[in-house]
């Protein structure tokens, strides 16, 4: 109940929807509640009279242009991707068979690659620590500048008008 003894509007309208209840009896005798009910009725009447506007005349045509533009490349891309993948795998197998290497040679070459990578990693870490001990501030500043540039570029890339892609398709 409100301060002036009238029911809460939400409860009153629940009973209005049901078509019966003690609050309706109150509303019939209460000038304030009757007025609010009447305003709601009038509002509903006006709202029912509003109609949806028509979309632009070329709306369907524009949709179909987008449908055609997006559909063809997608199918085309999948076919191209599959073709490239098949060709790459085929070329790899062909090169492997052609070279005449056995599994032992593959193992040896993998181990030597690992050793070379280890040496490269050692060299790189030594170079970075030497650089850090001699020019820490310029290094930090340039790394920060590169990071900011990357973030700015990413923001530019994601901030375009077609970024609706996250919306759910229910």
């Amino acid at each position: 109940m409100t301060e002036n003894g009238c029911p809460e509007l939400e409860q009153l309208f629940e009973q209005v929807a049901e078509g019966r209840g003690p609050l309706l009896d109150h509303a019939r005798g209460c000038e304030s509640c009757s007025e609010i009910l009447e305003q709601h009725r009038q509002l509903e009447k006006d709202l029912y009279r509003i109609a949806d506007p028509l979309p632009p005349a070329n709306f369907v045509g524009q949709v179909m242009v987008r449908v055609s533009a997006h559909h063809a490349p997608m199918r085309h891309n999948i076919v191209s991707a599959l073709a490239i993948m098949a060709a790459s795998i085929g070329a790899g197998i062909f090169a492997f068979v052609r070279s005449g290497y056995g599994l032992a040679e593959v193992g040896t070459s993998t181990a030597s690659s690992f050793m070379a990578a280890k040496s490269l990693w050692l060299g790189l870490t030594t170079a970075v620590s030497a650089l850090w001990s001699s020019a820490a501030l310029p290094l930090t500043l340039s790394m920060f500048a590169v990071l900011m540039l990357c973030l700015y570029s990413l923001k530019r890339l994601t901030g375009d008008a077609h970024a609706f892609k996250e919306a759910k398709v229910s």
Binding site: E44, L47, I50, D52, P53, L54, F59, V60, K168
Partner: protein, 191 residues
């Protein structure tokens, strides 16, 4: 005409099946049949015709790309409207983050193709003030009012589009209508 499990007519089913097979004219026919409520909902939510047009087109494109996920026993228009609604809310979230340029008010846009029909039903001044009050409400109020009164949807259909339990729609409707009533009253006081 095709019928679903419960004997309901499924007028969109044949077109959906044809569109899935790649028939673009069948999809165009689907777009034609539901373009008005989809565009109307976008316009009510976004309040600018250019954005509404863009988002409604995007919604149809998404619908086409995801036709294989659509359950044809359910109404096609509600499915597309749910997609459009999600896109609108997405855009509104982005817009509230950016809030850079002024938007053209919907009241300048709405008196459109249906003008003569509407003018016979309701006085232009009254309708404009109602539209103007409607456009000041939060998006969740605008959507239930638009779906229930403008598009004459049932609470069950609205619940399907909005993604809530049907029981909550009547309460939402009441609260939205009460806000609208107060907004109209304050507009009258000012004028």
């Amino acid at each position: 005409m095709m019928f679903g499990e419960e004997g309901k007519a499924l007028p969109w089913k044949a077109d959906v099946l044809a569109a899935r097979r790649g028939d673009h004219s069948a999809f165009a026919s689907l777009v034609r049949s539901v373009q008005r409520p989809v565009y109307g909902l976008c316009l009510r939510l976004l309040r600018t015709d250019s954005e509404a047009c863009e988002v409604a087109q995007e919604a149809f494109l998404r619908a086409f790309q995801n036709l294989h996920k659509y359950d044809e026993q359910k109404p096609f228009d509600l499915w597309v409207m749910a997609i459009a609604r999600n896109l609108c809310l997405d855009l509104l979230r982005r817009r509230s983050r950016m809030r850079a340029e002024d938007v053209q008010e919907m009241k300048d846009v709405l008196p459109s193709a249906d003008k003569s029909q509407e003018q016979t039903a309701i006085d232009r001044e009254e309708r404009l003030s109602l539209e103007s009050a409607l456009s000041t409400l939060p998006v969740e109020d605008r959507e239930v009012l638009a779906l229930y009164y403008v598009q004459k949807r049932t609470t069950k259909e609205i619940a399907e589009v909005v993604g809530v339990a049907p029981g909550t729609i009547m309460a939402r409707l009441f609260r939205a209508r009460e806000k609208l009533r107060k907004q109209m009253a304050s507009q009258e006081c000012r004028s």
